[in-house]
Point group: C2
Chain length 407, copies 2
């Protein structure tokens, strides 16, 4: 008998009919002899409805009470899903985060799971029950209701799978799995039957939104086999594995990720002295603005140029802070550019292959695309280019690395 943790998101449980469809899917697995623990999100639209209610009251509401409010969304889903499962003749039992309990820290709205007490769930599984757990929520050590922040239900599923030593954690979503790149841009994009955790992490952090980064990190850390599947279609989806677990002959590049949500800021002509990068970037971080790519150069006249990217929605605030810094440091100028995009090639195989970067740069050059910034990791090369070349770059790289044909 295997133990499977399944996660269904808001769209998958967005109506009574869909909840019934999820129940049928669960029942099939259960009848095949698997033990099932299910994590669910709030019905789609519900969380926004609750937040809208709170916004009628106050602009800046207490984050503790906001968690009390929005956590009701998943609580409604677990009750309804249990009823739907029981209507099919199976036994089931629902758990709020606090009932499991899933113990988190006290960072309301973005809490982190500290530990999960598995004994209640195990008892129910032994009794043949399907266990349904509210995603996205927990309690802190004082019993306050907390929520995990965006994508928290994925994290709940992975954490449950890790704690229960599940054989597989299945994330049901509205896509069929992880593709070599976005099929809306490259028609020939191919569903990957497997991808490593590292690759998945890089894909996610480079803009591929299939899974939340935190959930993937968590799964990788605890070695939980993670599978992304479609709620609405059949199919095996994509299995996210430890490196080399099954596939000895990894292709060099597994996928092309991209992101057009970033903007670029450059500060030019600052005296190149130790600590200048910290002086420029510190105040930006202090304002809670995430910085992604950072590049620093020194010009002939010994003045430094620092370029970095931030989320496009934060360009204005970042530029404001930067202009104060520029004044202080006597910089020549600052340049803001929101018309950029980031394209990345990701592949665990890059570790053992030389010349990957050169092929990427050649490919972009042959399409006449200028590279503005480059940043690399062991299994990823990302470049920032003009936004209008994004689709062209993705298609050219997808073809260059033979991703449509390599299986």
């Amino acid at each position: 008998m295997t133990l499977i943790v399944q996660k269904f998101g808001g769209t998958s449980v967005g109506s009574i009919e869909r909840i019934q469809a999820v129940a049928s899917k669960i029942a099939r697995f259960h009848r095949d002899g698997h033990q099932i623990v299910v994590t669910v999100s709030a019905m789609s639209g519900e969380t926004n409805r609750l937040i809208a209610l709170s916004q009628e009251l106050q602009d800046r509401v207490s984050s503790r009470e906001l968690d009390v409010l929005v956590s009701t969304g998943e609580q409604v889903t677990i009750a309804l899903l249990c009823m739907a499962i029981e209507a099919l003749g199976l036994k089931s039992r629902s758990y709020t985060g606090g009932q499991v309990p899933i113990i988190t820290d006290s960072a309301f709205g973005k809490a982190r799971i500290e530990r999960i007490e598995p004994s209640n769930i195990k008892k129910d599984l032994d009794l043949g029950r399907v266990v349904v757990v509210a995603g996205f929520q927990g309690v802190d050590s004082e019993g306050n209701i907390t929520t995990l922040g965006r994508g928290g239900s994925d994290t709940t599923a992975v954490a449950l799978a890790a704690t229960l030593k599940a054989d597989e954690c299945q994330i049901y979503t509205d896509v069929d799995g992880v593709y070599t790149t976005d099929p809306r841009i490259v028609m020939e994009a191919r569903l990957l039957p497997e991808i490593t955790f590292e690759e998945m992490l890089e894909m996610a952090s480079q803009g591929s939104k299939v899974l939340q980064i935190r959930a993937v990190e968590f799964a990788g850390k605890y070695g939980v086999p993670l599978r992304v599947k479609s709620s609405f279609n059949e199919g095996e989806g994509t299995l996210i594995t430890l490196e080399g677990q099954k596939d000895m002959e990894k292709p060099m590049v597994s996928g092309i990720a991209f992101n057009r949500d970033e903007a670029k800021l450059t500060i030019r002509g600052i005296p190149d002295q130790p600590g200048v990068a910290a002086k420029v970037l510190g105040p930006i971080s202090d304002a809670n603005i995430d910085i992604d790519v950072i590049v620093q150069n020194v010009a002939k006249d010994n003045s430094a140029t620092i370029t970095f990217t931030v989320n496009r929605s934060e360009l204005e605030s970042a530029a404001e802070i930067l202009s104060v810094i520029a004044n202080d440091l006597g910089a020549e100028e600052i340049i803001a550019d929101s018309k950029i995009a980031k394209v990345s090639i990701v592949g665990a195989g890059m570790k053992s292959h030389a010349g990957v970067a050169t092929r990427m740069f050649e490919c972009l050059a042959s399409e006449g695309i200028n590279i503005q910034l480059i940043t690399t990791s062991e299994i990823k090369i990302a470049v920032v280019i003009e936004e209008r070349y994004l689709e062209l770059a993705v298609r050219a790289l997808h073809a260059k690395y033979g991703l449509e044909a390599s299986y």
Copy 2:
């Protein structure tokens, strides 16, 4: 400094505007130097919305999961009310039933409170916080979410007041307090500034729907001063007190209650032998049908007649059961009558006054109203009459006992 427990029902918190009005009311009490614990119901309509969702799934849903589902209604209200209170510059903190915790038995949908652990709430009160507790809900000893059944939020308020030894428990509702009788029937009906627990209990059980019987019983048992007030108007409402606490010279009769939800069943011509009442009424009770008034007579021929009343909605099922019994016992006939009404005079003063019943019967006789059944307690006399005379009887008795003028 006094400690006040306040309860606001679904209509009082039925919209964001009303929640803000409740918050202002609470803030006034808090600024007057009172410590405040508030219990709230779900926003009006919310519980029905949730139940309707569950009914789309299944006719007979699991009562455990139904409690998980409907308890979200109060959870939404406590969060929103705390936000509204904090918007006024006060500190506050919300509690679900499980967070207090309010420990109940495991009778899902109709759980009874076993005990309340007050230490968390006390800590918050000492910190100057307004404490907001979800009404109608608790947890059993295994951590399952339970609900208390109809009117449960009143019970939560009274139980909190008893546990915290509150100076007063205020139930806010859509009426101004307890009247001598229903003002829709007797224009001269008068708001009672005080009423005893016993009287309130009799008024409630005789059909006056201002407060739930369970909450009044609870308050009486633990000596919690209970006050019924209007959410929407100012005014002191009605204080429900221990007998003779303030008012030495109680009027003989405090109010006229009535009920037109009952129906009458008579079984005639059964052999009068020991245990015949049990044989007739046992099977009715076994079918979970509540019996109210019971009268048994013996006729000249030594045959017995038993008459009793049940809720009008259960007349048919009761009559079916009775016809089986009639067959078994060889009864002459059974008669069902749904066109009846019950009128009661209630007053703690009746204990020490003779002749109250006689005056009541004379009054009804002078209006030409025939009395079908009579039942009495120490502080109540109830009669069953033809339904069409109900308003006439209530008005006549209200005048007879001088209720409009006795203040």
